[in-house]
Symmetry: C2
Subunit: 445 residues, 2 copies
Amino acid sequence: MSTAKARQILDMNAFDPRAGDAAASPLLRRRQENYGAASVLFYREPIEMARASGCWMEAADGTRYLDFYNNVPSVGHCHPRVVAAVSRQMATLNIHTRYLNPLIEDYLERLKGHLPAHLGNVVMTCSGSEANDLAMRIATRTTGASGFIVTETAYHGNTRAVTEISPSALKQGAPPPHVRTVPAPSRAAYGDDVAGGFAAAVAAAAAALAEDGHGVAALICDSIFSSDGVFADPPGFLAAAVAAVHGVGGLYVADEVQPGFARSGDAFWGFQRHGVAPDIVTMGKPMGNGYPLAGLAVRPELLTAFCEDVGYFNTFGGNPVACAAGLAVLEVIEESGLQANARDVGGYLGDRLRALSAHDPRITDVRGAGLFIGVDLGRADDPAVPDAALASAVINGLRDRRVLIGAAGRYGHTLKVRPPLCLSRDEADFFVEALADALAALPPG
Amino acid sequence: MSTAKARQILDMNAFDPRAGDAAASPLLRRRQENYGAASVLFYREPIEMARASGCWMEAADGTRYLDFYNNVPSVGHCHPRVVAAVSRQMATLNIHTRYLNPLIEDYLERLKGHLPAHLGNVVMTCSGSEANDLAMRIATRTTGASGFIVTETAYHGNTRAVTEISPSALKQGAPPPHVRTVPAPSRAAYGDDVAGGFAAAVAAAAAALAEDGHGVAALICDSIFSSDGVFADPPGFLAAAVAAVHGVGGLYVADEVQPGFARSGDAFWGFQRHGVAPDIVTMGKPMGNGYPLAGLAVRPELLTAFCEDVGYFNTFGGNPVACAAGLAVLEVIEESGLQANARDVGGYLGDRLRALSAHDPRITDVRGAGLFIGVDLGRADDPAVPDAALASAVINGLRDRRVLIGAAGRYGHTLKVRPPLCLSRDEADFFVEALADALAALPPG
């Protein structure tokens, strides 16, 4: 099975519209009729979802699920403070940023308080895709080069430009010649010297891009390598790769769309774990807790040069309602101590998962940072062999046990653990026990 | 002055950050510090805006402005029905579309009720830029060609791909070779036979793209040619150009981001004025009355083929909150008769503006459809000469008289009239009287 195919089936555990819908519900039929081939639904029998609060989602039939999948409602589903802020601002003023508004600056200054001082300008967009698309253009303008280096199962978004640097989005074919991929920073790929091996791979990709005449515009990495399977350790491993790219004049873009906003526990951003200085930081998903808000922070001189050639304006990006949502999210993270909670409960959860793995050889690795954890599943008879079918069975077994989760990674055998940051220890226990029970119900071999 | 430069200065009438900010307010200084070179503000002394309702916006100093600029809050600023729908849904469930939810299908079916039956699938995005980016990719996948034809002052959005087909966004340089521009469908460019002249220009562009090996992926037109200066007449003029593109195997993409959702009065979409059948319709801005919601409708077979190669998923696109906003917008348009109001008040407004032009030779043309009207300004001593400086002075004069408006077009001399669709005749009168007064205060010559 190709890795792309594995991801397609296993990350999504998706309803397959081609499998026939004789038994499809009227709602599912409407969905397929309206969405057509672009419909992507979780589970072979998709869930009709009705409401959500905190770490829990409730289906239309009343079943409640503990959400270990969704990293957008990061401070908790439908957090009342975010809802109130958005509702209030929507009733007051909802317009683009061509007028002055102190709320916008209040937000940006609070956001910049979490960022390195050298990233002094912020551009707000609607989606992480738009942010990464703009980051690519700024990198090309800055360097005069067109080449990009990404990991081999990376996902950075859905525009034409960004899809080219998102190998995991491709169902067939390969990225274009100006995009070079390197194996994700895993021990499987690089052995014990992840830092050195990853840096060498990045340097080789940079050399190849130079030789082909593309040059190196940027190394773009999701700072926790989410769709590659979650790789956070050892802390600092990214530094050598960043140095290699800087050494040939390329930029380093930290894609914080998935790890950003305190999820990794020890730091607010994933790149901080590695002690590196990005030229651009892109952000999105949890930024507005569901309100479409994303953006990038950049060294001002890069933005100044970019804006000499072409205007950039985003109609919805950073309007006062988006900023109200973003400000409420920062307030909740700070005032409720969610970064510390991600560290503490994430550490507890990791420990419990490692304890579980000691009793079940099919759990072959538990790794991550804070509340972003990858759990590898292997074959009982040969744990070194990734077992995507087992991951699929576990995902469905967890659904039956009221837990929502997905998989990721090159082989689709990594459970992607990323609950809301307000997760309690009791909820972590609920998950671990459900996982143990699901595994127990799946006889090895 | 280059046309790009003219647009930059005159469409925006922008605050110029390079002009020094000795007198800048503390808020303006914060803005410049946070946004850097990407800051785009209206007016040399930007307005701090505090709230808005219906057709009116209110500044922090209490000054109220009649909004003739903003086409996003199309059913009226902060419409209570949209606010209530968003607030309610945000407190209930705000998640991506990988779960089933009847609200999403209710919305899509109501939206499809306004679309031709052959456009059976809808893909929801956050922004018109994302929608046009995806439309370009579908066109390329469908045709195997990479060439695009657009008008010479077109604006279709801000991603890397879409900026390439947005000549008006360029501050210097020209679109890349796979993009061919044609003059906007004006009498100035094509004389009395706008249909024939525009079609011939499109056919010539298509031939040039074929000769250069790009082929024709699509003709993409804003159906009312907003940034070109608003060209709506004679109805039907687009048909010959669409036939020309279809004749060489290219698609026709109707960009309804600006004219769509009933603004043109006679029809719900701008393309309907021309009796043409788009292969793709893109939409955005007013779709959620300010909530980030956009998308495209497409022939299902095109989407099916596209999805064979690559997945498309948009995290925020069409989530239940966006759909609640979109549904409320459609309900308000339908139940409040806003399309009829756009036709009626727009017709009244056009008549009053033409009456004004009969007494002031500097108003050289009034044209448009419904509440999307272009008003050309020319020199008093030679009305055939576009007068961008006069447009700038009028925009500032109208600001002093409590009206917000902008300019567009190749020469920046076209006032772009596009108030909310709930505009009353009294408000239309207010605008016409303010315009007459502003012109009277500007001595000819």
